[in-house]
């Protein structure tokens, strides 16, 4: 009786592991392709639109503020400037956060199926994602309360951390890039 119970327990354990693997395992073409497309789009948005150094520098550039102060403009114009810059700064932070979250979903869900990332890299990446998302929230709070020029170092650190995540994600998504075929050597047709 005890032996039967023992084997039944082993059987139940095996069956539940099998069910777990079936639910988690095989790539679902529709879901996976959507995650891949989202990740590719997020990467393009970050690298092409949100993280270029010149754009980030210009959004948070203090020389524009200095220019406005030097002009000695009426208060409503100066207020408009601060309001507009804060709006753009918050938009930048929100978009970086959204795109980074999209990349995180890809890494949590599908990256293991496609990318050859080591365990150490995956753990580092998980920490980087967590730190970056927390940094975005902290920066958002700082800009909301103190204005767009309150934390220039945090802006730099956030952009650098997002750039690092982009570089790792680029490797994970490299298989989507078109293969560059080498031109045939002139004698290769005759060999």
């Amino acid at each position: 009786m005890i032996q039967l119970l023992f084997f039944l327990l082993i059987g139940a354990a095996l069956l539940s592991s099998l069910l777990f693997l079936v639910r988690r395992g095989g790539p679902r073409p529709e879901g996976d392709s959507r995650v891949l497309m989202d990740a590719r789009r997020a990467l393009d948005a970050l690298q092409g639109g949100l993280l270029p150094h010149e754009l980030v520098r210009r959004i948070f550039a203090r020389d524009d503020l200095d220019y406005m102060v030097a002009l000695a403009l009426p208060k409503p114009v100066r207020d408009l400037f601060i309001l507009e810059r804060r709006k753009i700064a918050l938009l930048w932070i929100a978009q970086v956060r959204t795109q980074v979250s999209s990349l995180k979903r890809f890494h949590v869900g599908a990256a293991r199926s496609y990318a050859q990332l080591g365990l150490r890299t995956e753990l580092e990446l998980a920490c980087d994602f967590a730190a970056l998302l927390v940094a975005c929230q902290a920066l958002r709070f700082a800009v909301y309360v103190g204005g767009p020029y309150v934390a220039p170092r945090m802006v730099g650190a956030t952009a650098a951390a997002a750039g690092k995540i982009c570089a790792i994600s680029e490797q994970s998504l490299a298989f989507l890039n078109p293969v560059q075929l080498k031109p045939l050597a002139s004698g290769s047709l005759h060999s």
Binding site: A45, G48, G49, L50, E54, L55, R58, I59, A61, D63, D64, Y67, M68, L71, L73, P74, V77, L80, F81, E84, R85, K87, I88, L91, W92, Q95
Partner: protein
């Protein structure tokens, strides 16, 4: 005659250089170039037209070259400092021979810069440029208000 629907990159690059050499070299300011190139685009189709360039190359190549230059002018303008944008806007206003007050009122109300951005521009860059235009208009308006009353420029 081009069989492919998408023009060859080399042809586009050649057409782009031709456009820069013959036409855009006379338009120094990025703002003027942005407005000029946006005006080359059909609002209904999004296709750029330039008869001279199309006769030397093809319609497709000319369209791609114009789109490239439009994107470049936009990029230049997005990263230009605020003081430069204010100067460019003021210089553009002077070149239109419109009275400053009339120009500032029209630009403030109609926001024509919103239709001057290239397609597929990332939303943040576009919003940033619109925001800078809004500030630049406010600066010019404030400077106009502080000037002693006199004949319109």
């Amino acid at each position: 005659m081009h069989v492919n629907s998408s023009p060859k990159r080399m042809d586009v690059e050649e057409a782009r250089q031709d456009l820069c050499r013959r036409t855009l070299s006379d338009i120094q300011r990025p703002l003027d170039r942005l407005i000029y190139l946006a005006s080359m685009r059909d609002y209904n189709t999004g296709v750029y037209h330039h008869d001279g360039l199309a006769s030397r190359f093809t319609e497709e190549v000319a369209c791609e070259a114009l789109a490239d230059c439009h994107r470049e002018a936009f990029r230049e303008l997005v990263i230009c400092p605020l003081d430069e944008l204010v100067s460019q806007l003021d210089a553009y206003r002077s070149s239109t021979h419109t009275s400053p007050r009339e120009f500032l009122t029209a630009w403030g109300r109609l926001e024509p810069y919103r239709v001057a951005v290239p397609v597929q521009t990332d939303p943040l860059s576009a919003e940033f440029l619109f925001s800078n235009f809004k500030i630049a208009l406010a600066v010019l308006e404030s400077q106009l208000d502080s000037r002693p009353a006199g004949p319109a420029a």
